[in-house]
């Protein structure tokens, strides 16, 4: 997968509070991004359903909890597969990302769709069990200017004309575990002999490309039938 939405499971107490009013619950996994980051794939969905069943049994609650995983909760043609089963439940607990939760809710207006995950960020897989945010999805990529290191995603103060006065030994003042994005930028550009790019003052960011009029949309007529 070229990119990935990362997510983490909410604390089980929070989930139990949200599902408490319901008697017939479908725990719905998503086999895409959230499976990749081990938060909401088939395996995690089975474990979540089983943990909730066990908790209900311990408290002698009469609740039906069943599970199912679809390929993508954010794509209508996959969500449609719920048509035949959705009538048996009074709530869906979705282990999809925020886009998945809303796509399912959009399709079934009468049924509450409850998020089981906290959607985090557009992530890079750094290694086993390690994901990092290097891209904000700002709608106006500036990586060329900064040697392939994004100061908006990786500098704690989103400084476009850095480094600030808190960069010490290549570390950020906010957390010594965080590499200073501006040290990385300077190192990269020095390597390319392109440090002079930083003599310019970069103008204020056009945030209208990230936060415009309502949710952002991509319309590609050439892709539409």
């Amino acid at each position: 997968m070229a990119f990935m939405i990362t997510a983490e499971q909410k604390p089980v107490e929070e989930i139990r509070e949200m599902i408490a009013p319901f008697k017939r619950i479908l725990v719905l996994g998503c086999a895409s991004c959230v499976a990749e980051c081990a938060a909401g794939g088939q395996k995690e969905t089975a474990m979540m359903a089983s943990a909730l069943r066990m908790a209900a049994r311990m408290e002698d609650m009469d609740v039906l909890i069943e599970e199912m995983t679809i390929d993508r909760q954010c794509v209508e043609e996959f969500v449609i597969r719920l048509d035949d089963v959705i009538g048996s439940y009074d709530a869906v607990l979705s282990l999809g990302c925020g886009a998945g939760v809303q796509a399912v809710a959009d399709m079934y207006q009468e049924i509450p769709v409850i998020p089981a995950l906290n959607t985090e960020f557009l992530g890079e897989t750094k290694g086993q069990g390690l994901w990092v945010e290097n891209c904000l999805g700002c709608g106006d990529c500036m990586l060329y200017y900064f040697g392939g290191v994004c100061p908006l995603a990786r500098c704690s103060k989103q400084v476009l004309n850095g480094p600030c006065g808190g960069s010490v030994d290549g570390r950020c003042e906010v957390d010594s575990e965080v590499p200073c994005a501006w040290q990385l930028i300077i190192d990269r550009l020095t390597g390319f002999n392109a440090l002079d790019r930083l003599e310019n003052i970069y103008p204020p960011k056009q945030w209208s490309k990230k936060q415009g009029k309502g949710p952002r949309k991509i319309i590609r007529e050439d892709q539409q039938k």
Binding site: K157, G162, D169, V174, L198, E199, I201, P204
Partner: protein, 329 residues
């Protein structure tokens, strides 16, 4: 005694080009080649104007201008703009500190106009301490502009009479524009490049991070001189008197971008606790004495944190009193 402000000419309030006397006392002191003195006043964690006035009285006559910090260390305090207005009413010369952490470009530009309308004539444009350090760690960090862009916007407002996007103002703000520099942060070679960028963006004066390591400060200054930067901007060296050896150690290890040599810590530890404040003041006075000798240093910025009482003694012992008084030109 600070000169009682007489009736201002109308042009003072109209701002506009730098050729017009902008009414900044700090600017007049620096342009007359005097070694300038500024100090810091932290607004209270409360709504009592008396606290601001009392701090102002401790500084009156001992400094040319008083910097008012803007929710420093990301702790909620009385607004810097309000505290500046109180000092201005009391006849003191404020330097409004504004950080880009809490306000987007609309609010920043609006407050710049408001500050000028209140008669505030000095503005220090800063990034601000990150919100995680303060008492509102869940706040969003705005950082819509960075400090460099903020400088550029303020300069455009003052000199061209336009806001970001080139809409014309009815009246330009009238401000002496300042920026911060930290000679002790990394990457070392790049610090001077960034200083040059700040000057290009619009800084008329610079106030530096606290200086304890004079050798390193001089190395930075000499790089700035080599690039001709000291000819283009007024530099005020920052100093902070240490209260205790513990404070020195805390600042060395916990405050990022702060360089306190071991020798300073040993000096503080070498005197009994009740004498440490005195020792801290002595170190501060010695630092200022050395700064006064350096070509390219035009003044000193005394940041006596919650210890405004110390400023008078420091200024006196460093031979900085009385402060000069200039007419409004």
């Amino acid at each position: 005694m600070v000169k009682k402000t007489g009736k201002r000419s109308k042009k003072d309030y109209q701002g506009g080009s730098t050729k017009v006397n902008n009414g900044s006392q700090l600017k007049r002191v620096l342009e007359n080649g005097e070694f300038a003195v500024t100090a810091e006043c932290g607004p209270p964690k409360g709504a009592d104007p008396e606290i601001v006035r009392k701090k102002g009285e401790l500084l009156r006559g001992n400094v040319d201008a008083v910097n008012v910090t803007d929710n420093q260390t990301a702790i909620v305090r009385m607004s810097s703009l309000a505290a500046c207005a109180l000092l201005k009413q009391a006849g003191l010369e404020p330097v409004l500190q504004m950080v880009v952490r809490d306000r987007n470009r609309i609010a920043l530009q609006s407050d710049v106009l408001g500050a000028s309308a209140l008669g505030i004539r000095n503005l220090l444009c800063l990034s601000g301490d990150h919100q995680v350090f303060g008492n509102q760690p869940d706040a969003i960090g705005v950082f819509d502009l960075d400090s460099m862009q903020f400088l550029q916007v303020v300069k455009g407002m003052r000199d061209k009479g336009v806001i970001l996007g080139n809409d014309a103002l009815q009246t330009s703000p009238d401000l002496f524009i300042g920026a911060a520099a930290n000679p002790f942060a990394d990457p070392k070679e790049f610090r001077v490049v960034r200083l040059a960028k700040k000057i290009k963006a619009g800084a008329d004066f610079i106030q530096t991070q606290c200086i304890y390591n004079l050798d390193r400060f001089e190395a930075w200054l000499s790089m700035a001189r080599d690039r001709g930067l000291t000819e283009k901007v007024f530099i005020l060296g920052g100093v902070t008197p240490l209260k205790t050896a513990g404070m020195a150690k805390y600042m060395k290890t916990r405050v990022s971008g702060m360089d306190i040599p071991d020798e300073i810590i040993r000096r503080m530890e070498g005197v009994p606790k009740e004498k440490q404040r005195e020792e801290g003041i002595s170190i501060c006075v010695e630092t200022i004495t050395r700064l006064k000798e350096l070509k390219g240093v035009n003044g000193v910025h005394i940041m006596a944190i919650e210890w405004e009482e110390a400023v008078k003694e420091i200024a006196e012992r460093a031979g900085l009193l009385p402060r000069p008084v200039f007419g409004e030109g």
